[in-house]
């Protein structure tokens, strides 16, 4: 897949931006706060229905405007045109229309234009709290499978409903057992479905990750990756369990911890608490990895995500790199850069200064440079 053009209206400091892209490499230069990342956010809105940055939707609407709109025209690897437009006005539902149809829900477009995103915020994946790693898995799997996207939205919804019942129970000291039981049943069913899909996913993802890490670093280091469910005993997850096995295990946890849940007024188990273990040289990367190893691990995760998604979708993902090269040293920059260019994926890079990137570019490559100043993007030579 590659993007041919992008239009932004009232998105952050962009009033009206229309840009056409190189199918290979696009370098977007601008000072901090100029609005270069907004171009990547616009692409993310077209691919994922929302930005990759933690942000409030209403804050993304330009001051003095009452809606934002992002639209894009792309071509699939087979040359089929794909169009998408997402519009959001404060207080109303997102309006999404694409080549698939009008009035779409987010899950109907997620994955149609597969994206791999690397932004400084994602450093947390390797050393932050588990929610960063869950978000990493969810973003990838939601793009790979619409069913996963749907189940993961359902889990959030059921969890909210179930927590409401539990907090009411805590407040009033009493609960309707029949009502709690059906919500627990539904919660367990969805948790098991998601845990099952994630377990299966990690087993497919791990070889890509190990290979990618080997390519990023030249030294011989032992890395490992595995799924670490919060509430399930390891002897169950170790033997590729069926959905029924997982449901039975969750049911046992639900029974055992019921009193605790009623006392605390909140759900204390389930797939929303799971983690992904990343190990390096026999220790947990969160604690043992050096700064350099953290960078290599993150790049390897993203490179593996690229391979995984390309295989799952049978479509070349689009790469978005938000100011990430400022975080990498020269050696890693060049290695990463070479790999990206070799992959043939369309790539977008934002940077505060494009000079050093320009210098490391191989000759004869189809590259487009853009400069963004106060929300105005222009193509430069």
């Amino acid at each position: 897949m590659h993007l041919r053009s992008l239009s932004l209206m009232n998105l952050r400091n962009h009033d009206q931006t229309d840009v056409e892209f190189s199918p290979v490499l696009n370098i977007i230069e601008g000072a901090n706060g100029a609005g270069k990342t907004t171009i990547l956010e616009g692409i993310a809105i077209c691919g994922l229905s929302k930005s990759f940055l933690p942000t409030t939707e209403t804050l993304m609407i330009r001051k003095t405007a009452d809606f934002y709109r992002a639209s894009a025209a792309a071509l699939t690897d087979l040359g089929v045109p794909y169009k998408i437009a997402v519009q959001y006005a404060a207080g109303s539902r997102k309006m999404i229309g694409s080549s698939i149809g009008e009035n779409l829900s987010p899950k109907e477009i997620i994955g149609e234009m597969p994206l791999i995103i690397l932004s400084p915020d994602f450093k947390e994946i390797t050393f932050g709290s588990p929610d960063h790693r869950r978000r990493f898995i969810d973003m990838m799997l939601s793009q790979a499978s619409k069913r996963y996207a749907e189940e993961s939205l359902n889990l959030k919804r059921i969890l909210k409903q179930r927590n409401n019942i539990l907090s009411q129970a805590k407040q009033h000291g009493t609960v309707n057992e029949d009502i709690l039981e059906v919500w627990t049943g539904s919660f367990i069913e969805t948790s098991a479905e998601i845990a099952h899909r994630r377990l299966h996913f990690i087993s497919e993802f791990a070889p890509y990750f190990l290979e990618a890490y080997r390519q990023v670093t030249s030294v011989d280091e032992r890395v490992e990756i595995r799924y670490e469910p919060d509430s399930l005993p390891p002897e169950i997850t170790a033997v590729s369990p069926s959905i029924a096995d997982l449901e039975a295990a969750y049911l046992a946890v639900a029974k055992r911890r019921k009193t605790e849940e009623l006392r605390r007024g909140v759900t204390v188990f389930g797939a929303q608490k799971d983690d992904m273990y990343i190990g390096i040289n026999g220790g947990n990367a969160r604690e043992y990895a050096s700064q350099g190893q953290h960078k290599s691990l993150l790049i390897a995760l993203k490179a593996a995500e690229f391979e995984y998604l390309r295989n799952a979708k049978n479509e070349m993902p689009i790469m978005l790199f938000d100011d990430i090269f400022s975080e990498l040293d020269k050696m890693r920059t060049e290695r990463v850069f070479r790999n990206i260019l070799n992959s043939g994926a369309q790539t977008f890079i934002t940077t505060t200064e494009s000079e050093s990137l320009r210098r490391s570019l191989p000759g004869g490559i189809d590259v487009a440079f853009f400069r963004v100043t106060s929300g105005i993007a222009e193509r430069i030579s």
Binding site: A89, G91, Q161, G185
Partner: protein, 198 residues
Amino acid sequence: MLHTSESIETVVELFSSLPSIGRKTAQRLTYYLLKQPAETVDKFSSALLTMKKNIRFCSTCYNFTEKNPCPICSSEKRSRKVICVVEEPSDVLAIEKTNDFYGKYHVLHGAMNPLEGIGPNDLKIRELIMRITDEVDEVILALDPNVEGEVTTQYLSKLLKPLGVRVTRIARGVPIGSDLEFADEATLSRAIEGRISL
């Protein structure tokens, strides 16, 4: 609101209190009505009042009706052996359009939704249980295919099964009339899961 009159503002407020009507749309509807002749506006207001005065719940199925019991409940042509349970009166309309269902209905008026404070007692569930007599063979649960509809389906199934009635749910499947390849992946995935033997 300095630039508008109080009576205009009242109408805008009323319109925007309707489901899926935002403030912008409410304004557009208000100004549209304002430009219409008095008779048109009169038709609107009297139609609303007449509807409100004449429509009540059917005391059997809880669908909206002008006559109690409603035409479906009082029809001799419709089987009493099958009751189809739906969330809203508009769902009855949708199923009636198929011309393929010959049983009776039961409208719950919603689904279980703790966040909105809707529990079983706020729905017409007790009324449904009262209808399960010996002459009823089957209850079809046709609730919305979302989290709340699913949980309500499970809840009803637990209540109904001990009454010795056959409990079924409508299939979740692929839309007919288009190619399989155009079906939404999530729907297709569920359809494969819910496959039936031939």
